[in-house]
Amino acid sequence: MKSISEVLAPGIREKTPSFDVQRIRRDFPILGQSVHGKPLVYLDNAATTQKPQTVIDALIGFYTTDCSNIHRGVHLLSERATKAYEDTRIKVKRFINAPSEREVIFVRGTTEAINLVAQSYGRTHVAAGDEVLISAMEHHSNIVPWQMLCEEKNARLRIVPMNDRGEFLMEEYEKLLGPRTRIVAVTQVSNALGTVNPVHQIVKLAHEHGVPVLIDGAQAIQHMRIDVQELGCDFYVFSGHKMYGPTGIGVLYGKERLLEAMPPYQGGGDMITSVTFEKTIFTKLPHKFEAGTPNIAAGIGLGAAVDYLEAAGFENIVAHEHDVLAYGTEVLSSLAGVTIIGTAKEKTSVLSFVVNGIHPHDVGTILDQEGIAIRTGHHCAQPVMDFFKIPATARASLGMYNTREEIDALAAGIRKVTEVFN
């Protein structure tokens, strides 16, 4: 593994001039509060990120001035709401560089997007004896929908293993890709370990076998520039609430050719051209997959979150988060009794750790008393915990507003934990 000084390019340790983290922090009203009498140190961003004022304003603005249903009213409010909601689709299309907004499907979140692909694409393409390929570091949401599909179809779920640093094993993947593989579904960034997977290579190899690939971008979309055309993936899925947007809205990007051929996932209003009791004609993309009234306010809020990320700039976000992660890795590694779980060469924004002889749940409770919010538990990735033979970890996960000072607070909190126990 590279040393910290090797990982950090020269100059990165200095503050990026165009990125003022204190100014960013002021955009997030929630960060100014105290918890148990201590300033809030929010390090649970992989669970959900906080929202900038512009996103909050978008939600309030919708309910204050534009509230109405979309795609149907002839009145002005509906026209404004529809435009704001559909503007987000255009923003998301640009944000991930999708060729067309017909390929941007709004869903509730990553979980629903994966279920949609498993149920719609999966049920029409996976048959008895076929194989679905996932990795050993998937979140439960990228395991269970495929397991359900495989059970129904009598197909086989196969798992690409990882090494003890938490890295995807490309040679094993190549061996597992075979004539029965019907789809590959892999996370871009592990929520429990922070590993960044080599998704370009994963897509390239699958395509050599004619196999489509779904990339779970839930933990990637907020940390790096995503270009779905450059990635070449067939499906890319993510949630709004992990990218500074509201809960209840997420995105399924899919290649138009595949989406066109897929049957609808749910039936209802907004996804039809005509309905009689004898036959229903489904409407065109993207609405074919958007049955019922969506979370309109959240959709509009997501547009504001995209604007916020674009204004902050990914060059700045990547450099800043990389600096804080490298600093956090250095600081936590130096603490007696602390072991970092997940030490891949390519990592982003996650510091999963265990403290010798102290259960993560106790670590979490004591840190909370210091105003520090982290996640403890299995992180909806029980197979990852089983792999490392631990019941749980403590996880500090970063957003663009976190600072080195907050890492220092975390380190002081962990020292307090060991004091309480000794």
Binding site: I358, H361, D362, T365, I366, G377, P391
Partner: protein, 150 residues
């Protein structure tokens, strides 16, 4: 702000680091498993009951300080009690950790278990303290299903 020392009392830390009766019980005639899916705590409780009296108790599993100490101290407190006394103690303990005891309640009958009073200030930790007790209760009732605290 609650004091951490109220939660992590010396006696709790001691039972966490050196849990008592931390073994399977070969002669147990009652047994049940408990699981807290939220934090992954697992516990198996073994009880030997003769003529309605708990003769011996043990447990195995993995968990945080609160759940391990609670299981350890529970096994100590059960021995020699009738099943009815055990159920009464469980109710009392449950009221203690959930903050439902009246302020003037006499803690004497809880004995050492009174150290868990601090848990009531930490609602998310109540399940840690009560997992072993719920599991023991299921063992006495002869339940075969894993006790889940969710």
């Amino acid at each position: 702000m609650p004091d951490l020392r109220e939660l992590y009392q010396e006696v709790i830390l001691d039972h966490y680091k050196r849990p008592r009766n931390f073994h399977k019980l070969d002669h147990a005639n009652r047994q049940a498993d408990g699981f807290n899916p939220l934090c992954g705590d697992k516990v198996s409780v073994y009880v030997q009951v003769e003529d309605g009296v708990v003769r011996d108790a043990g447990f195995i599993g993995t968990g945080c300080a609160i759940s391990t100490a609670s299981a350890s101290m529970m096994t100590e407190s059960l021995k020699g009690k009738t099943e009815a006394e055990v159920e009464k103690l469980f109710k009392r303990f449950h009221d203690l950790v959930t903050g439902q005891l009246p302020p003037d309640a006499d803690l004497a009958e809880l004995g050492k278990l009174a150290v868990f009073a601090g848990v009531r200030e930490y609602p998310v930790r109540v399940k840690c303290a009560s997992l072993a007790w719920h599991t023991m209760h299921a063992a006495l009732e002869g339940s075969k299903e894993t006790v889940a605290t969710e």
